[in-house]
């Protein structure tokens, strides 16, 4: 489920990303990724009990996925692999469409649980890097995007 067409569809269909484990530290990868997605037109919903009730990236932060009052598309997980299964359950409970485990996070049971509940599931990938890879930007730093196409892209990448 992480071929180019599927990832393009997931990032195209969903516009709200709940970032579980978002840090307030600007040089942490979770902050990098969330800020990038926000700049590329996604709404970020911060989820982190440490900052619950405070704004992060200009959005209110929630203690858990179940506290979010509005619909969520992608649940983006910046947590240790062994902590992901309950997050997958929460994602299913709130009707999220995608369980996305960040690079280095690889909980196969959580992935299988999400798939069985009809969600899309991505594991061990970074949303920012995949967005930059498939919609433009990552190519500017010489990364092998594996994109081969003779079609002119519809949007400009910046």
């Amino acid at each position: 489920m992480d071929d180019i067409n599927t990832l393009r569809r997931i990032l195209g269909e969903n516009r709200v990303i709940a970032v579980v484990g978002l840090s307030a530290d600007w040089h942490r990868p979770s902050y990098f990724a969330a800020k990038y997605m926000q700049e590329h037109g996604y709404r970020i919903v911060p989820v982190n009990p440490r900052y619950a009730g405070q704004p992060l990236l200009g959005e209110p932060c929630y203690a858990s996925l179940r506290d979010i009052p509005t619909p969520v598309g992608i649940v983006d997980v910046f947590r240790k692999t062994e902590d992901v299964l309950p997050i997958a359950e929460d994602a299913i409970a709130i009707g999220a469409k995608v369980l996305w485990q960040q690079i280095g996070v690889k909980n196969r049971a959580a992935q299988d649980r999400a798939l069985a509940a009809g969600l899309d599931a991505v594991m061990d990938r970074c949303v920012k890097i995949e967005h930059g890879r498939l919609f433009g930007g990552l190519n500017w730093v010489g990364v092998n995007t594996r994109v081969v196409s003779a079609r002119r892209p519809r949007g400009l990448a910046y």
């Binding site: 071929d3 180019i4 067409n5 600007w26 040089h27 990868p29 902050y31 990098f32 800020k35 990038y36 700049e39 690079i103 280095g104 970074c126 890097i129 930059g132 433009g136 930007g137 990552l138 190519n139 500017w140 730093v141 010489g142 990364v143 092998n144 995007t145 594996r146 994109v147 081969v148 196409s149 003779a150 079609r151 002119r152 892209p153 949007g155 400009l156 990448a157 910046y158």
Partner: protein, 429 residues
């Protein structure tokens, strides 16, 4: 639908470039600009913080140069690449990213002369020590390891001695030691050999040679496989906050292209040996036809090697594609499509005969480059190694009568004709 694994011929034409989003131009546009505007103060801040991807200044990245970078990364089956102004610049940039004063390198002794000097003289002056070992026995690399060793270095196919290293054996030693294996893959080009597939961690190119292929343009490329664990304790600069970027941790933030980002954002940004967009574009024109050129270079070189092996005026021929070569087994394993276009041979009659051969050539060009579409020849004893005594030359593997030839893609009968008439002339005192 699973992603298609495209063939190398397709990648030579397509990897790294889709039609220009702004204009629909099919060929890669030449973005001949030093700088790129920011949309806002916040956009500028995000770019300087490395939080977003984008171009700031062409010393750091440029969209035309990026096409070449991604294309070569794809050809080498790597994760990411950084282009540099020359092959030497690629070596220096890679090595300065990996090693600092007090560190140690183990390198094959069989190297392009400029590389030998970079390691043995210039990096030495900066406090990085290199031990040179005979690569024919890979165990020599293991024996030279020290606690402060940061990398193993070799040329896949050595210039000018035309030796082949056992990539898998070197990769195993590097893996055990927890250091990356860095290979200069200039002479085979990724069409003939992909060292990353055999376990190397970083590949370097002088794109000046076969990648560009027409002797018009200088360039270099560094490619990272994306598999090396920079968090193994030997590379704290990759896992601790970078002072140049207010605390960005390159390996954590960029993961499997962390080395390339560090090389670009720290070494390239500060030392500055960037490739120009115009030169990147010229090199890209060459890369498009790399497979067809390399097939012809290999076929012509094999024909030349066979011709020389039977020629009465020739004392020896080194070409790994010949069954008699001591590197034939390694060539069959690592270079199954052909052993590239480089060979060397001896002219009967010693150094003077070698010089006369060079002077008698009609269209074979007497110059110091390799990897041009045209046939090139040089007599190392009277040129590149002239300052050495005959004894020193022998130790460096340069026989007095040795000619190095970079076989081009002219009509093979014409190449053999020019060689033959020059050999006949070399006999006349």
């Amino acid at each position: 639908m699973p992603d298609r694994a495209f063939g190398i011929e397709t990648l030579c034409l397509h990897a790294g470039q889709i039609p220009d989003p702004a204009t629909g131009a099919r060929a890669a546009p030449i973005y001949q600009t030093t700088s790129f505007v920011f949309d806002s103060a916040d956009h500028a801040a995000s770019l300087f913080n490395l939080q977003t991807f984008g171009n700031v200044y062409s010393r750091i990245s440029n969209p035309t140069v990026a096409v070449l970078e991604e294309r070569v990364a794809a050809l080498e089956n790597g994760r990411a690449a950084l282009a540099c102004a020359t092959g030497q610049a690629a070596e220096a940039t890679a090595l300065l990213t990996l090693a600092k004063s007090g560190d140690h390198i183990v390198s094959a002794s069989t190297l392009y002369g400029g590389t030998h000097t970079l390691l043995g003289v210039n990096l030495q002056k900066l406090g990085v020590e290199t031990t040179f070992v005979d690569p024919d026995d890979p165990a020599n690399f293991r024996r030279a390891l020290r606690p402060n060793t940061k990398l193993l270095y070799a040329e896949t196919l050595g210039n000018p001695l035309i030796n082949i290293v056992d990539i898998e054996a070197l990769a195993a030693i590097a893996r055990d030691a927890g250091v990356p294996l860095v290979l200069d893959n200039t002479v085979p080009s990724p069409y003939l050999c992909r060292p990353l597939d055999w376990g190397a961690d970083i590949v370097l190119h002088s794109a000046t040679k076969y990648l560009g292929g027409h002797g018009t343009t200088m360039g270099g490329v560094i490619v990272e496989a994306g598999r090396f664990n920079w968090g193994n304790g030997r590379f704290p600069e990759f896992t601790t906050p970078s002072p140049g970027y207010h605390g960005v941790v390159f390996f954590e933030t960029f993961g499997d292209f962390g080395f390339t980002m560090k090389a670009r954002m720290e070494t390239m940004r500060t030392f500055g040996p960037a490739l120009s967009p115009m030169n990147a574009w010229l090199l890209l024109q060459g890369v498009e036809t790399l497979p067809v050129r390399m097939d012809r270079h290999c076929a012509n070189a094999l024909a030349v090697a066979r011709f020389l092996a039977d020629h009465p005026r020739v004392t020896f021929v080194n070409y790994p594609g010949l069954p008699g070569s001591r590197y034939h087994a390694l060539a069959s394993k690592y270079l199954p499509k052909g052993a590239s276009g480089l060979l060397n041979f001896g002219v009967r009659g010693g150094a003077r005969a070698g010089e006369r051969f060079i002077e008698a050539a009609q269209f074979m060009s007497h110059l110091a480059n390799i990897g041009d579409a045209k046939t090139l020849i040089i007599h190392p004893a009277s040129t590149t190694h002239r300052q050495m005594s005959e004894e020193e030359q022998r130790r460096a593997g340069v026989a007095p009568d040795m000619i190095r030839m970079s076989v081009g893609i002219e009509s093979i009968d014409d190449i053999l004709w020019d060689i033959d008439q020059a050999l006949q002339a070399s006999a006349k005192a």
